[in-house]
Amino acid sequence: MIEAPDLSFAALAPLLLVLGAACAGVLVEAFVPRHVRHPVQVALALVGTVGALVATLLLAGEEDQVTAGGALAVDGAALFLQATIAGLGALSILLFAERGLDPARSAFVTSAAVPAGSPRDRELMVDTRVQTEVYPLAGFAIGGMMLFVAANDLLVMFVALEVLSLPLYLISGMARRRRLLSQEAAFKYFLLGAFASAFFLYGLALVYGATGSVRLSDIREAGVDGGGGVLLVLGLGLLIVGLLFKASVAPFHTWTPDVYQGAPTPVTAFMAACTKVAAFGAILRLLYVAFGTAEWTWRPLVYAVAIVSMVVGAVLGLTQTDLKRMLAYSSVAHAGFLLTGVLGLGAGGEGSGLAATMIYLLVYGLTTVGVFAVLTLVRDGDGEASHLSQWAGLAARSPLTAAVMALFLLALAGIPLTAGFTGKFAVFRAAIEQGAWPLVVVALLASAVAAFFYLRVIVLMYFSEPVADGPTVGVPGVPTTVVLAITATATVALGVLPGAVLDLAGQAARFVG
């Protein structure tokens, strides 16, 4: 007989809210009449995510605990990252809900099952009916991510990985425009994601074989020296591969540009921001809770991967002509910077690396959502105008859009007085404190290289002649306006007065278990 595990419902409240809202969303899809479905779904999704955000904030004062039979660790780091995911998720939901920009009133295809280019597809192209399955799907993905960062056991972590991935594969393929590109992206993402999941699962099996447990704390106690040996180390390697894939760290980044480009832009924003947070949450937990005592085994590896990721991201970003692909490579480079922060955590969990990485995730997520939100505004007849040449002289036509875009780009480049600087400074300082200054030197050089392609967009917007039949800049509806206002304000506020959030992250920087 299996005993029922004790559940702390209070500690699970954020997860339950998001997943509950998603389940209710499925029911809404089935029972609520079509014409009111969209507002109901949006409201439900927002209630779930914002509710989860509030719940995590309320839990912040509580003591750290391990609950659900040891499967979940509700500690400072988990709560901070859950709050980040819930908040960024809510912003993404708002981007999904924008109906004022696309002439057909939604960024998502009306019926994803209709073959692209068929007569029926052409009919639906001008249909203003909107598809609302994306909201529960996104809700499940957000729930999976929040579970991912709190998983205290490799099996739960794997389940969370799948829960967050599967909906993402689906909604990546739901673009209204350029459907074939979108479907191709979704399919690639699915295949490679499955491949990566297999690595993770195989690693899980090896670790279990070596230690006889999937619980992170047990793995730590078994230890590399305690007879685990080759099996355990191999298992660790494969687990890391699975996680690095999700975090789009080079050399496991190859899916990133294709998927970022093909997916509907609001989904790209969601993926780029939230998946990164979730993946790094899991990486930190795996490395420091399960393998924290065997730091010497993986530290050189992470060191090397960080360098590869920064260099590949920065160098490949140079020659991109599509903004979304450019931002994808930027995300690869940022993953490398984040790994710098991961290395800023000492063996016993001391050092400011955890807080620094969490801050970086927060500011990177906010800026990324913001920059993709601006991308949704600039459009031509075929959807979003993401080719660089189309952005030439944009500042003359739409100064406000160009200014906001420039702000986000400066933040991504890490220019002082923007949030990006706060994040970079935090992770670099943490890494230097742990003696990883050569890595920081490489990171600074990579930042300089990456600054080129961010600044190129600004130069293009401000100092080029506008193209003749250039794109139009749409007037955003309420949801996108809210997103832009929040992200832009946060980008400036976290750059100018980062003190409060830095303190918060510093207090939250602890693992349990």
Partner: protein
């Protein structure tokens, strides 16, 4: 002690003109109609406030008031509180700046009446007054530095006020760059103070400067002196001041005669506790003062441009002040008295020169003046009084203040005292010569006016300030030396004046100086007044005259010592930058771009190659981990 009452509001002294500048600059053309009135009103209000503050200060027992404003910089050990210090020294400067400033603002209403950019002019003037007041009222070297840079900026903007004239633009740049040389010295002096003492406030620095090694104190003193030389146009940084006359004449009067250029004297007087500890630095101050005094006077003898003669006269007179403050406790009061008197008569002389130019279609060549005394009676009268005050005519202001300096120099009672005193007396003779020459060429002799020039007296809005300044020129010296002695007023700052043991009786000094002065006047009459003044400057002149016309080759020396090597260095660096640095950077960029394109080829778009890449990565990861663990 902390300030109370009006003194607590002394920050308004700075805030009022600053607000005026802000309104005029930000208000744009809307303020064109009344902008000059607002600009004048803020300075007059500041003057009234300064008078009230000073009266209150005089009634205080301690005669010093601290006004804490806010924390300016708080970073690590550096903690700079923005605050003001209203003490007798800053009070006399505040009165001079706002008083003369008010008169010159009023004068400018008339002088700039036909200039389309009059509002901008008043905005810059207000900005200058605010910065200058911050300079003298700040309670720390950092506040002084902020004001110091502020007046530099205002000076730059005002010299280049007519920026479409290449000469004005060049002169402004020259002033700015030469000032920069001095500013670096001041900045480094402040750095040294912070590094050695951990504070930059006057109270903190002066309280603990005695604990430093002698060499450090001397270094601080010399660096401060470098800053003072830059701002005050002293050797070797004097060449910018005459060129600065390209600015409108009220600017020359206010900034480049009465106030800003005396900031160096203020700096040294304010830093008296530092200089008291370093005879070496004081000796350098003395040498620079004496040298500049002569250079300025000699150059002043040869120029034909009325404003340039006055400018070299300013250089020379500030040399006197440096000489005085370099003498240490014996000279501070004498130097400051001369500074105040000079503020009156030199401002008056410049305004008079402006009035003459106004009458002569903006001509400045004295060879084309002459016989103006009948046409410009008020200008002639006020200018004449200023002239008499400057050359030290008995019982006018210059007589008292200059004699006090010479007395203080002789009181050293050593060889150097005699040398310095001699230089000062010689300077007095030269001053009398060049100023008499200026008077004769401008107001007397035959009219040598260009065609179409019809001299006329200036409007009363311009002559009234000139009259006030002329009255000041006549009486200020006697007031400051005997009736209302400055030494008593400044006692809280410099201590009780020591009873001077006069080496030479003051009466005798007065007599000698007067005789030398009269000799100068006589020489000028012999060389200039007796003969016809040629309309063009004679080309065949003695080497001495040629050297004087070139301001003793200061520009040539600067050019060959600094400018040309600087240009060579620039060219070499540009070459290095283009070929070396740019080459490396461009090469690197091209290399990165090429790498990027080649790497991009791995991004084939095929899932199979992506998966292969991931597999390769996974093998490497596993291999690396195993290698680390087993190795």
């Amino acid at each position: 002690m902390p300030a109370e009452g009006l003194l607590a509001a002394s920050w308004l002294l700075i805030a009022l003109p600053l607000a005026g500048a802000a309104v005029l600059l930000l208000g744009g053309r809307r303020t064109d109609r009344w902008g000059h009135l607002l600009g004048t009103a803020t300075v007059v209000a500041a003057f009234v406030l300064a008078v009230a503050c000073t009266v209150q200060l005089a009634g205080l027992e301690e005669r010093s008031a601290d006004v804490e404003l806010f924390t300016f910089i708080s970073s690590g050990q550096l903690d700079v509180t923005a605050g003001l210090l209203y003490d007798p020294l800053s009070a006399i400067f505040a009165l001079l700046i706002t008083g003369v400033g008010s008169l010159i603002h009023v004068y400018s209403i008339g002088y700039m009446a036909h200039d389309p950019a009059r509002r901008r002019f008043f905005a810059y003037l207000n900005l200058f007054v605010a910065a200058m007041l911050l300079l003298v009222l700040g309670n720390s070297f950092v506040a002084l530095y902020v004001g110091w840079e502020g007046v530099g900026l205002a000076s730059y903007l005002l010299i280049a006020f007519w920026y479409t004239r290449p000469a004005a633009a060049t002169a402004a740049k020259k002033a700015f760059i030469m000032n920069r040389v001095g500013d670096v010295g001041l900045a480094i002096a402040i750095f040294v103070m912070f590094a050695q003492l951990g504070t930059t406030s006057y109270a903190g620095v002066f309280g603990s400067v005695g604990t430093l090694a002698g060499g450090t104190i001397t270094a601080i003193g010399l660096l401060l002196l470098l800053g003072a030389c830059g701002k005050s146009g002293q050797f070797p940084l004097q060449a910018w001041l005459p060129d600065a006359m390209e600015g409108p004449t009220p600017v020359s009067a206010l900034i480049h005669a009465a106030t800003m250029v005396t900031a160096g004297v203020y700096l040294i007087a304010r830093s008296a506790p530092i200089y008291d500890l370093t005879p070496t630095a004081r000796a350098v101050v003395l040498a620079i003062g004496a040298l500049t005094l002569l250079i300025g006077a000699i150059a002043g003898c040869a120029y034909d441009d009325i404003k340039k003669v006055l400018a070299y006269s300013t250089v020379s007179q500030i040399g006197y002040m440096f000489l005085a403050v370099g003498l240490g406790p014996a000279g501070y009061v004498a130097g400051l008295a001369h500074l105040l008197a000079h503020g009156f008569f030199k401002a008056g002389l410049f305004l008079g020169a402006g009035s003459v130019m106004h009458a002569m279609n903006d001509g400045v060549d004295m060879r084309r003046f002459g016989a103006l005394w009948r046409k410009l009676p008020v200008t002639f009268g006020t200018f004449g009084l200023g002239y008499l005050a400057l050359i030290g005519f008995p019982f006018l202001s210059g007589y008292f203040t200059k004699d006090a300096i010479i007395e203080a120099a002789l009181d050293r009672d050593d060889v150097w005292g005699w040398v310095l005193g001699g230089v000062a007396v010689l300077g007095a003779g030269l001053t009398a010569f060049y100023m008499t020459r200026l008077m004769l060429m401008t107001f007397f002799g035959r009219a040598r006016w260009e065609d179409g020039v019809h001299p006329h007296e200036s409007p009363s809005v311009m002559t009234a300030p000139m009259v006030v300044l002329a009255v000041g020129s006549v009486f200020s010296g006697a007031l400051l030396v005997s009736v209302f002695p400055l030494s008593g007023w400044l006692e809280p700052v410099f201590g009780e004046p020591a009873e001077a043991a006069h080496v030479v009786a003051p009466a005798l000094i007065g007599l000698v100086v007067t005789v030398v002065m009269l000799l100068g006047v006589l020489a000028a009459w012999l060389f200039v007044g007796r003969r016809e003044v040629p309309v063009t400057a004679p080309a065949r002149v003695s080497p001495v005259t040629r050297a004087a016309r070139n301001a003793l080759y200061a520009d040539a020396v600067n050019e060959s010592l600094f400018m040309r090597p600087g240009q060579w260095l620039t060219r070499a660096l540009v070459w290095l930058d283009n070929r070396g640095v740019d080459g490396a950077v461009n090469g690197l960029a091209a290399g990165l771009g090429g790498t990027s394109s080649r790497l991009a080829r791995t991004q084939t778009g095929f899932v199979r190659s992506y998966a292969l890449g991931m597999l390769g990565g996974a093998v490497l990861v596993a291999g690396a981990l195993l290698a680390v663990t087993s190795g």
